[in-house]
C-alpha cells in the first residue's frame, strides 16, 4: 500500500529524479492525460455533428488508441532520459570522490615524507612511502583508462589487439599488486590453476583491465577476514576464469542490472564508494568483443562468483604468430 501511494505521488517522484515539475516525466504524463481527455471530447463533439452514433464511437476509439500509444512512447522516452541524467549525475559525484581519494593519499604521503621527522629518519619507511605513491598513481591511471574504454565503447572505436599469453601468469601479477591492500583488510588470495593450461588468444591489456576490475571488486566488497578464491580451468575451446569473494552478495532484484553502465548494487553503495559503476560494463564489453562470455552467481549476504571465458590460441593463429617471430 505504501509503495503504491509512493508510486502515485508525482511530486515525490520528480524530486527523486531531481527534475523540475514542468520537465518531469510523471507530471508530463498527467498533462498528457488531460490533453488526451480534451482531445477525445473534441473528437466526440466534432464527429457527433457529422456522422452517426456508431461512426462516432469508432472515431473516438481510434483517436483514443492513437493518443495512448503516442503518449506512452513519449513518456517512456522521457523517463529513460531522466533516469540516464540522474545516473550520470551520480557518476560524476562518484568519479570526483574516486579522484579525491588517491589525491588525498598523495597529499598526505608527501606531507609525511616532507615534514614528519620520525618518518624521514627511516629509509624503510621512506621506501614504503614511495611505493604508496607509485601504487596510487597506478590506481589513478587504471581509473582514467577505464573511463577512456567507456568512451571508446560509446564511440564504437574499440580495437582489440589479440596476442598469445598465459592467463595464469597475468592473473598472478595482478593479484600480487593487490596483496598489500588485501593484507591490510585481512583478506587472503588463493589461485587454483593447473600447471599445463594452454595460452589464450586475446588483447592482454584489455584482459588486464577486466581482471583488475574483478579482483578490485572482490577485495573491496569482501568482508574480512576472508579469502578471495581465483580459479582458472579449461572449458572446451576456452579458458574459464572465475573469482569468488566473501562479500555482501548482490540482491536478486538487481541481478539484471549488474552489467549496466553506472549501476552499483544498493548494498555496495552503502559500504564502499570505490566502485565507479562502469567496471563491469567495461568488462562485459571487452570479453564479448573478444568472443568470450561473462557472468556471475551471487547469494545475497554470502558471496559472489564472477566468471568469464577467453578463447584459447587456435592452431593456425599460433603458427602464424611463430612464423612472424621467426621472420
Amino acid at each position: 500500500m505504501h509503495s503504491f501511494l509512493r508510486r502515485i505521488n508525482i511530486i515525490a517522484e520528480c524530486e527523486e529524479l531531481r527534475w523540475a515539475v514542468w520537465s518531469c516525466p510523471p507530471f508530463l504524463f498527467l498533462v498528457m492525460g488531460v490533453v488526451t481527455i480534451i482531445g477525445l471530447l473534441a473528437t466526440y463533439a466534432i464527429t457527433a455533428r457529422f456522422v452517426d452514433e456508431s461512426g462516432t464511437i469508432i472515431m473516438v476509439s481510434i483517436v483514443t488508441a492513437i493518443l495512448l500509444v503516442i503518449g506512452n512512447a513519449v513518456i517512456h522516452g522521457f523517463n529513460k532520459i531522466a533516469e540516464a541524467n540522474r545516473m550520470k549525475g551520480e557518476f560524476i559525484s562518484i568519479i570526483s570522490h574516486q579522484l579525491r581519494s588517491p589525491l588525498s593519499v598523495f597529499k598526505w604521503t608527501v606531507d609525511l615524507m616532507e615534514h614528519a621527522p620520525s618518518h624521514r629518519a627511516s629509509p624503510e619507511r621512506m621506501t614504503d612511502s614511495f611505493r604508496t605513491l607509485r601504487d596510487t598513481a597506478e590506481n589513478m591511471i587504471e581509473l582514467v583508462n577505464m573511463l577512456l574504454e567507456v568512451s571508446r565503447f560509446e564511440a564504437g572505436t574499440l580495437i582489440l589487439r589479440p596476442e598469445s599469453f598465459k592467463l595464469e601468469e597475468l592473473t598472478q601479477k595482478i593479484i600480487a599488486g593487490y596483496e598489500r591492500y588485501a593484507h591490510a583488510a585481512q583478506i587472503n588470495f588463493s589461485l587454483d590453476a593447473p600447471s599445463d593450461l594452454s595460452s589464450v588468444y586475446a588483447d592482454i591489456e584489455r584482459i588486464k583491465i577486466v581482471i583488475q576490475n574483478l579482483v578490485a571488486n572482490a577485495v573491496h566488497y569482501s568482508i574480512g577476514p576472508g579469502t578471495v578464491a581465483v580459479g582458472i580451468a579449461r572449458a572446451g575451446a576456452f579458458l574459464r576464469w572465475e573469482i569468488r569473494d566473501s562479500g555482501t552478495g548482490i540482491p536478486v532484484s538487481q541481478h539484471r542490472m549488474v552489467f549496466h553502465k553506472f549501476f552499483r548494487g544498493s548494498n555496495a553503495q552503502h559500504q564502499q564508494t570505490r566502485g565507479t559503476g562502469v567496471g563491469l560494463y567495461v568488462a562485459k564489453g571487452i570479453i564479448e568483443a573478444g568472443g568470450g562470455r561473462i557472468g556471475f552467481i551471487s547469494e545475497e549476504g554470502k558471496s559472489t562468483t564472477f566468471w568469464f571465458t577467453v578463447p584459447l590460441v587456435q592452431v593456425g593463429v599460433a603458427r602464424r604468430s611463430s612464423e612472424a617471430h621467426e621472420g
Partner: protein
C-alpha cells in the same frame, strides 16, 4: 597522553596521520572498518574520534549514530575526515552530532593535527 581512535579504511591515510599524531604526542588506536572502530571506542574510552564515512561493514554515519546514542560516548568529540563533499552528506553528519567535518583533500596533515588540538582544547575548556 590524549587517546584518539582513528577509523579509516585506506591504510596509507591511516599510516600518515597516525605518524604525525604520534609525533605531536597523541596516542592513536586505529581501525579499518566501522564495526571494529565502534568496538574500540567502547573498549578504549578515547578523548576524540577521527572518523571516515565510507567504511566496510558499518559506515561512518552509523558509527556516529551509535556513538551519540550511547550515554557513555554521547559527548565524545568526533571529527569527520571524508572525501564526500555533497551538502547532503555534510549536513547529515552534522545533524547526527559530528563536532566538525573536514574534507581530506582540503587539509594538510599538520592542519588536521591543529584541528584535533583545537577540538580537544575546546572540550577541556568546557569542562
Amino acid at each position: 597522553m590524549k587517546k584518539i581512535i582513528f577509523i579509516e579504511d585506506e591504510p596509507a591515510l591511516q599510516h600518515a596521520l597516525t605518524v604525525v599524531l604520534n609525533d605531536a604526542g597523541y596516542q592513536v588506536v586505529s581501525a579499518l572498518d566501522g564495526e571494529i572502530g565502534l568496538g574500540l571506542i567502547k573498549k578504549e574510552k578515547p578523548d576524540l574520534v577521527l572518523l571516515d564515512l565510507i567504511l566496510p561493514k558499518m559506515d561512518g554515519f552509523q558509527v556516529l549514530e551509535m556513538i551519540r546514542k550511547d550515554p557513555e560516548t554521547a559527548k565524545l568529540p568526533v571529527i569527520i575526515l571524508s572525501n564526500l563533499e555533497e551538502n547532503s552528506d555534510i549536513n547529515r553528519a552534522l545533524e547526527l552530532g559530528a563536532t566538525t567535518y573536514l574534507l581530506k583533500t582540503n587539509y594538510r596533515l599538520e592542519e588536521v593535527v591543529e584541528k584535533v588540538a583545537g577540538v580537544l582544547h575546546t572540550q577541556e575548556s568546557a569542562r
